[in-house]
Amino acid sequence: MDFGMMVAQLGEGMVVTAEIFFLTLLFSLPLGLVICFGRMSGHFLLRTLSKIYISVMRGTPLMLQLIVVYFSPYYVFGIKISAAYRFTAVILAFALNYAAYFAEIYRGGIESMPVGQYEAAQVLGYNRTQTFFRIILPQVVKRILPSVTNETITLVKDTSLAFVLAVVEMFTAAKQIAAKETTILPLMAAGVFYYLFNLAVAAFMEYLEKKMSYYR
């Protein structure tokens, strides 16, 4: 196999990796906020359930969660699993897992907000929704950006776990080529790909941080 073909095959894996990455963020970022609301709710049952959810999602391997999400429709509901469900299961498991981490990051950010911001908003007549979305959330986003960057960089590398469900993302593609051609070159190339991907992620997050640095 020549170098060009190897890059092409890795490229296909790369597209899958990017899909997992972006779809996971798309679903887990808002879902994390919902779980965070549950976790911070005054409702005991809601709060406890959210706490258990976060604890389980953070306390068990993502690899196991992928398997559970993939097989549970069959074992729990007796639904026949189609091949197309594989990719869906990957996204579902990743989103559910990352949402738990994001929920805790949000909570940390929200709890770090000075109570004076809420009180000023209340006296000015903002309702709770307005207070949260106009006053609190924008400031929380700025505060949590560094932690979100960390999580996002971990996600880029975690995408390789999709191999458990035989979804051929970049790392799996690299391993397959490496095994067939008995060379570690594809693995090295994959490493470079991950690194470049994360370089781009870090650059984008830095841009966001800069954009929000107009205030303190």
Binding site: G116, A120, Q122, V123, G125, Y126, Q130, R134, Q139, Y215
Partner: protein, 251 residues
């Protein structure tokens, strides 16, 4: 007309009774200063009056409208929609400003009128610019709070409160977070408001200021109003505790 009426207000924080039967009414145009030692309950009184804190007993009305009253030994509050309307009758200026750091000065002042009172944007902007001009902040409207001095930040927060056109303005030690040279510029603004007959209730440690500006001074101690009267009455004929307190400021 009675702008604010508080009767038999009681407030307890975990077994500590901070306010014991406080009654206070404020007439239109009146400037009332509240003085007293640390921990006497001045802030708590303001926080109960502005509904940042729930009262445990007593009643609270603004412009004759009841916000809270006592029923079977507990304090009940008016329905949410009524409270929302009643809240429009007052503003509060905090000791540490609590400006919104992510909003420019202009947005700090016009955001609530636009989003809470639904004032058209253009009108809210005019109103905000006019207020900022009056408070000597015309050239700061595009700045962000962290770029301003404490005195400027406090003036922005006064503008922010005034932009909603409240009938009563509460101040909780508006100059305590400021250096002496910045205190003057904020006191000047409050003096200006008094001249325009703004109804104000001011918690302050600035004795001289309270004395020259107030129609009435209230001395609080241990959760009760110990003495009150015109500045002449209070400073001319202080009871023993008041004399001791005032004495500390002259030393």
């Amino acid at each position: 007309m009675k702008y604010l009426e508080i009767e038999h207000l009681k407030k307890t924080f975990d077994n500590l009774q901070v306010l014991k039967d406080i009654s206070l009414s404020v007439e239109e145009g009146e400037v009332v200063s509240i003085i007293g030692p640390s921990g006497s309950g001045k802030s708590t009184l303001l926080r109960c009056a502005t509904m940042l804190e729930r009262m445990d007993g007593g009643s609270l009305s603004y412009l004759g409208e009841r916000a809270a009253w006592e029923e079977n030994g507990t304090c009940v509050y008016a329905p949410k929609s009524e409270l929302k309307r009643i809240r429009k009758s007052y503003g509060l200026v905090f000791q540490s400003f609590h400006l919104f750091p992510h909003f420019s000065v202009l947005k700090n002042v016009m955001d609530a009128p636009v989003n809470v009172d639904h004032v058209p944007k253009a009108e809210a902007r005019l109103r905000a610019e006019k207020l900022l001009g009056q408070l000597g902040l015309a050239d700061k409207k595009d700045a962000y709070p962290h770029q301003l001095s404490g005195g400027q930040q406090q003036r922005v927060s006064i503008a922010r409160a005034l932009a909603l056109q409240p009938r009563i303005l509460f101040f909780d030690e508006p100059t305590s977070a400021l250096d002496p040279e910045l205190t003057g510029e904020v006191l000047k603004v409050i003096r200006e408001l008094a001249r325009e007959h703004m109804t104000m209730i001011i918690v302050t440690h600035e004795m001289q200021f309270a004395r020259e500006l107030s129609d009435r001074i209230i001395f609080m101690e241990d959760g009760v109003i110990r003495q009150q009267g015109t500045p002449q009455e209070l400073f001319g004929n202080p009871d023993e505790r008041v004399r001791e307190f005032i004495g500390k400021f002259q030393a």
